[in-house]
């Protein structure tokens, strides 16, 4: 009986602790929930249709095929193995957009839960990121196949990828948390973000080579966080190299800033969610 007392929960709304810090403690306490919610969201995605997994493999492949046919012949890009350049870019893009959009939608969906019972509010966004990361592993399968077919070398630089993915996940989580907070107060944000995303897609060198920009403008790409994060992800795959120090620094900076601001804004406002949703 005494043992139960020790692990007893205590809740004190008057405690002067930073909301960010309390949230981290609660997240740790609810880590099993985080695990199960991720599992559930994966199951939900693949359970209903037996073709579910196959579709998620075929989808990017088909997009890649269409874009390859369109661009490599139309514009005659000076990129060897363009399908790999393109597919790695698309995989990166899907990871970022799916996770941020999921984070936003799941909080609005989870509102039903938030009004009924207490759970740490960040679990919804973090689940979205976890799910995206698991889908990412599936997306690597078609990429590996294409790399084999085109005899693209697998270089040791690929071992750099986990770090690149970590930074991308951090950045996406931060953006997801900010978007979730905003969408609770203004549902328009969901629609605005869709527009922003499609513009962002063309502002980031995903389907075209970076050299398409005049040299004097390339520097401005540093203001696009997705540019550095994309480089971090693509260089080891496509060029087989470890990304440059500047890229690593810029990407780390963006990831850190995004995560910090995201967590700070979200946890500061999280107590109002149950009143608003």
């Amino acid at each position: 009986m005494w043992k139960q007392r020790v692990t007893m929960m205590e809740y004190d709304s008057g405690l002067k602790r930073s909301p960010l810090f309390s949230e981290l403690i609660e997240l740790f306490r609810y880590r099993d929930l985080l695990y199960l919610m991720t599992l559930t969201s994966i199951k939900r995605r693949y359970k209903r249709s037996t073709l579910g997994i196959i579709w998620s493999l075929l989808g990017p492949l088909l997009t890649m095929a269409v874009l390859t046919i369109a661009f490599s012949n139309l514009f005659r890009f000076s990129l060897i193995n363009y399908p790999i350049y393109l597919l790695s870019g698309l995989i990166f893009w899907n990871l970022f957009t799916q996770t941020t959009q999921d984070a936003m939608n799941s909080l609005i969906w989870g509102g039903n839960l938030l009004r009924r019972i207490y759970v740490p509010r960040t679990v919804f966004s973090i689940t979205a990121i976890n799910t995206g990361l698991i889908n990412l592993f599936l997306a690597f399968i078609p990429l590996a196949i294409i790399m084999l077919i085109l005899r693209h070398p697998f270089r040791p630089a690929l071992f750099f990828l986990p770090f690149a993915i970590l930074l991308i996940a951090m950045f996406a989580l931060g953006v997801g948390l900010i978007l979730s907070t905003m969408s609770v107060f203004f549902i328009d944000v969901v629609y605005i973000y869709q527009v922003v995303i499609s513009a962002w897609f063309y502002l980031t060198p995903i389907i075209y080579p970076r050299d398409i920009f005049p040299a004097q403008y390339v520097w401005y790409m540093n203001f696009n966080p997705l540019y550095n994060l994309l480089e971090l992800f693509r260089v080891p795959i496509y060029l087989g190299l470890i990304p440059g120090t500047n890229t690593i620094l810029a990407a780390s900076l963006w990831a850190g800033i995004s995560l910090l601001i995201g967590f700070w804004v979200f946890t500061k406002k999280a107590d109002e969610f149950a009143y608003r949703i």
Partner: protein, 249 residues
């Protein structure tokens, strides 16, 4: 019976809860920005709770009465940590089992087994604990033969039984009951009331909201009477209910 009265399990100090409703609902960002600049956002402040004070000790049975819209549910939400008070503060020591929200987070595509784990972790339990108690939960809910079928194939009664079984498998420190929870059929109702009576005997603190005054009076020693978010009276059950009846008839 030894009741530990050193520290109350629930301390509510000057708790107020404000719902802030925009005068006209503002849907869009643009509209908000324009109004913000013009400083023309007007809210209707609605105080669902106003300076509530209450201390609840271990093993107490507290009744909460009052007309509709008195703030009873809001008070329960503050205690179960769903709403953070706008003013004042609250301290809760111990595990709270809110029986107002049975089966929160149930996913109807998942099986009963999967839902026991999901719902259990939402209630704050560890997966290992749930695994240890799994058979007992299934037995109590009487769902042995259906536990691996998706929840969407369950009847309403079966879902409710499962929710109750998960939420009450471990003796909670604080139990929150809204109205007469009628879960499942007659037999299951009897079983669930027995379980709650058992908790009562073992020192669980119970907060009970009901419109059924005789029932509240027979169950609870102490009562808090809420009206328009204000605490009208706190005291011995009989006195408060007599006062309440005198005023409402």
């Amino acid at each position: 019976m030894e009741v530990q009265t050193v520290k109350p399990l629930i301390e509510i100090e000057n708790v107020s809860v404000r719902y802030r409703v925009p005068h006209e609902k503002i849907f869009s960002l643009k509209e908000y920005a324009i109004r913000r600049l013009k400083r023309s956002i007007s809210y209707i402040d609605f105080w669902a709770l106003c300076e509530i004070n209450l201390k609840v000790y271990q093993g107490e049975l507290i009744g909460i009465i009052g007309p509709n819209g008195a703030g009873k549910s809001t008070l329960l939400k503050v205690i179960s940590r769903v709403l953070r008070p706008t003013k004042g503060h609250i301290k809760v020591r111990g595990m709270v089992a809110p029986l107002l929200e049975l089966g929160a987070g149930f996913d109807f595509e998942l099986t009963g087994r999967e839902n026991i784990f999901l719902n259990g972790t939402i209630l704050g339990f560890k997966m290992k604990d749930i695994a240890n108690r799994f058979d007992r939960i299934v037995d109590f809910a009487e769902l042995k033969d259906f536990i691996d079928s998706p929840l969407r194939t369950y009847s309403t009664g079966m879902v409710a039984r499962l929710g109750f079984a998960v939420a009450t498998d471990v003796k909670p420190d604080i139990l929150i009951i809204d109205e007469i929870f009628a879960v499942g059929d007659k037999e299951f109702q009897k079983k669930s009331i027995e379980r709650i009576e058992g908790f009562k005997g073992k020192g669980t603190t119970i907060l009970f909201v009901s419109h059924n005054l005789p029932q509240v009076q027979s169950m609870c020693k102490r009562i808090i009477w809420l009206e328009h978010g204000v605490s009208r009276a706190v005291g011995p059950a009989k006195e408060v209910i007599e006062h309440y009846l005198r005023e409402n008839h």
